[in-house]
């Protein structure tokens, strides 16, 4: 057959390899995060904010909705009211704790919903390609023709205020970008030979997507979704600021900022408080998603 001796280089019985601890992808991500103190600090901060919102009924020193005309607009660090009182004499610290519930819900829930729905459309578009891709992605392009704030104001402005409408609005606003990220990631995975190998073994599309595609697009989609939490919080508080959020007696950071603004000349520092909470939460989420992105950027 050939002039090359058949067994010039014999096959070793086993491949020599240095013994090493085998670490899964998520294991190595965590290993990187462990030494990223900024991210860990922000993560702790987020957990703290979430806990304080969850346990608001136990933590709040006063009833957040009880107004007291005699104690309107007390300054910050007042002996009785740590963060002062608002224009109706309600304890601001209590309102901040309760307000965090709505604001955090508006930061997280729309992102979760949009990741599920947008991710689904993105995976379908990316995997099937062709006409399916065109219909889905061109529809998304139309939504991209609106700056996100404008789209949120448009939908929310038409639907009217209220917590459900706000959540619906934010979900619709966040679906297109998540869909695009999922689509890009999926179509990249789709070109990989291991997908063809799976098809060659007779696997159904559903099986290939669940075993081979999702596991590979998870990290880019999650990293992107985590950046959107802060976007969602800011958008939500913006909508509330415009009066498109929860109805007035309920505490919400954006709405509080809006109503306190009337008192800017009387007690300017108190006016700034709700915004500080929004800012800190938003920065924490941004830095955590930055850290996640770096930790997940594993060449594997």
């Amino acid at each position: 057959m050939s002039d090359i001796p058949a067994n010039l280089i014999p096959i070793p019985a086993t491949q020599a390899a240095p013994s090493q601890r085998v670490r899964s992808y998520w294991g190595s991500v965590w290993n990187r995060l462990r030494y990223d103190y900024v991210t860990l600090f922000c993560l702790a901060l987020i957990i703290l904010i979430v806990l304080s919102a969850v346990f608001a009924p136990w933590l709040a020193p006063m009833d957040p909705d009880k107004s007291s005309m005699a104690n309107r607009l007390r300054p910050i660090f007042h002996p009785k009211y740590f963060l002062g009182t608002d224009e109706q004499g309600r304890d601001l610290l209590s309102r901040m704790l309760y307000g965090g519930r709505v604001s955090l819900l508006m930061g997280i829930m729309p992102v979760v919903l949009a990741t599920t729905i947008g991710g689904l459309f993105g995976v379908v578009a990316g995997y099937y390609g062709g006409k399916v891709n065109m219909v889905i992605m061109r529809t998304m392009d139309v939504f991209f023709a609106f700056p996100s704030v404008l789209l949120a104001v448009a939908i929310s402005g038409s639907l009217g205020g209220g917590i459900t409408n706000q959540m619906l609005t934010l979900t619709v606003v966040l679906i297109p970008p998540l869909c695009r990220v999922a689509e890009t990631a999926t179509s990249q995975v789709r070109t990989m030979d291991f997908v063809d190998a799976a098809r060659a073994s007779g696997a159904s599309t559903a099986s290939i997507i669940s075993t081979h595609v999702l596991i590979n697009i998870l990290s880019p989609v999650l990293v992107y979704a985590s950046t959107l939490v802060s976007v969602s919080i800011i958008l939500a508080s913006g909508l509330s600021f415009l009066g498109l959020g929860v109805s007035p007696p309920t505490a919400d950071w954006g709405l509080m900022l809006s109503t306190l603004r009337q008192s800017i000349y009387v007690e300017p520092l108190v006016t700034a408080v709700p915004g500080v909470a929004i800012l800190i939460t938003s920065i924490a989420f941004n830095l955590v998603s930055d850290g996640l992105r770096q930790a997940m950027d594993v060449k594997a």
């Binding site: 529809t139 139309v142 609106f146 704030v149 404008l150 915004g275 929004i278 800012l279 938003s282």
Partner: protein, 318 residues
Amino acid sequence: MWLYALRRLVLTLPILFGVTVICFALVQIAPGDPIQNLLSPTASQEDADRLRAAYGLDQPLPIQYFIWIAKVLRGDLGMSIANNAPVATEVFRAFGNTITIALISVALAFVLSMILGVIAAYRSGSIVDKLITAVAVFGISVPTFWLGVVLVIVFAVNMFWLPATGMGASGSETFNYFNWEDFKFAIMPIIALALPPLGIMTRTTRASLAEILNQDFVQTLRAKGLSETAVMFHAVRNIMPQAVAMLGLQLGYLIGGSVLVETVFTWPGTGFLLNKAILTRDIPLLQGTILVLATVFVLINLVVDLAQSVIDPRIKRA
């Protein structure tokens, strides 16, 4: 080049069509029956039907859409409910105020972000870099309306340096940007608007510069004995197409996203108009303003794409 421009233009048409569909849908998703609002409470069902027919609201939705779009194409955006004025007139009057401060803000943010981005990339890892990164994160994370409130607290309430809100005594008709007494009113809105794009653009500039500086050709430039300034010049030239694209996109975001800042400063632009429309539930005004702003955003993207294909020699799209 011309073929590419034409192709890009053709591709924009379906997007614009989609934009009009969404704007049309805004009226449909709004709760309440527009006819009931127009009628007196004592009006009969026949009166309601007659009015419905007169407005074409008894037609199926696609027909209603075509009636509406035909009007829009003639420049008729309907009548504002609140003050019974044509929406088109209101929007275009306000648009001038918005575009001017948006342009100034984005230009300011662009120049600053290039400077900060270059410094941060050049001194990568240093304190200066960390400081600049912190400013960028702040810019991205800060809610602009709160920033506006804080600016008012500091510069208007505490220091009396700048006027808190409005466009000054002269008003929007005679506002002169080259007159300091007038321009004072625009300063805080411009700063509040400029900070988020400044954050985003600084970060992107820094990241793409750092990537370029890691490439082999930069090593070659250094090996040839070029000074660091000259090397940086090469690197900056490489990120220009990207930076220009970013600039356009941010301008679009500012024009569309100015509603909060304009509300805080009662700056009579399109954003303030939107706020008014929301407060009075003036759906035609809301719809018309959004349609104009989204169309402008699409056109800005188109111009950016075309500009990019001129600047970037690698894009030879025929």
